[in-house]
Amino acid sequence: MKNRLKVLRAERDWSQADLAQRLDVSRQTINALETGKYDPSLPLAFRIARLFGQPIEAIFQDEA
């Protein structure tokens, strides 16, 4: 699954650690999400969507 997390984070000039702190996850999790090594659970995807004020499908795109 592709996502726009890195772009959205860069637009706000946040580091991975900043975003991790806002989502209450580890920096490693943010890195794994951005590099596509890990797809978030539904609750985490909702938290991300709420944080950036965008619908989930505007942040995550299914590659299937």
Binding site: Q16, V25, S26, Q28, T29, N31, A32, Y38, P40, S41
Partner: protein
């Protein structure tokens, strides 16, 4: 963007140093456990293996991500270390009891159960950690590490048991399974975390 990249870049020297210390600790302790002359070196080796594996596993997230230890993980480490130290002390007490010829009847059963209960405490700490940790990925890393540890220790125990039956391997006490499991989980935790680095 360059500033972002620089800020997020993990340092290279610290992971390498911690990995070397962890692997050396596990290797040295395992050698002591398997080749130590007499009882005490074996127990020291077993406890050393567990502590080295815990240290390696616990620092894995930090090694590859540069994160501080999270509160849920800190709680688990404290609970786990207390349980494992209690396990080691109770195991030593049990052995001394046996050496003194007192491990029979009800006292013998109680002495055998005591270290096992301490070990169950270590797993209770793990269960609490899995419930408290809000990070999906860290929970997945922990569960995958446990599966590797469980699969590894069962495979090793099966192979060793067969070799013992053939007379190709020396007899090992069953309590060795617990420290070997802890080591496998600790090492697997480092490797699984590395996969998601």
């Amino acid at each position: 963007m360059n500033a972002l990249k620089k800020k997020n870049r993990p340092t290279e020297a610290k992971p390498a140093a911690l990995a070397i210390i962890g692997v050396s600790g596990i290797g040295g302790s395992m050698a002591l456990l398997l080749t130590g002359d007499g009882e005490w070196p074996s127990y020291v080796g077993a406890v050393g293996m567990v502590l080295a594996a815990v240290a390696f596993g616990a620092t894995a997230g930090r090694l590859y991500g540069g994160d501080p230890v999270r509160p849920a993980l800190r709680g688990f480490l404290i609970g786990f270390l207390v349980s494992i130290i209690a396990y080691a002390l109770l195991l030593l007490g049990t052995i001394r009891l046996d050496a003194a010829g007192l491990a029979h009847g009800a006292l013998g059963y109680a002495a055998a159960l005591a270290p096992a209960l301490a070990l169950a405490g270590a797993f209770a700490s793990l269960g609490i950690y899995l419930r408290r940790e809000p990070d999906d990925l860290l929970r997945r890393v922990a569960v995958e590490s446990l599966l590797w540890g469980l699969g590894g220790v069962l495979a090793l125990a099966t192979a060793w048991g067969i070799l013992e039956g053939f007379g190709l391997a020396p007899h090992l006490q069953l309590w060795v399974v617990a420290p070997v499991f802890a080591v496998l989980v600790g090492v697997a935790h480092g490797l699984v975390a590395w996969r998601y680095r």
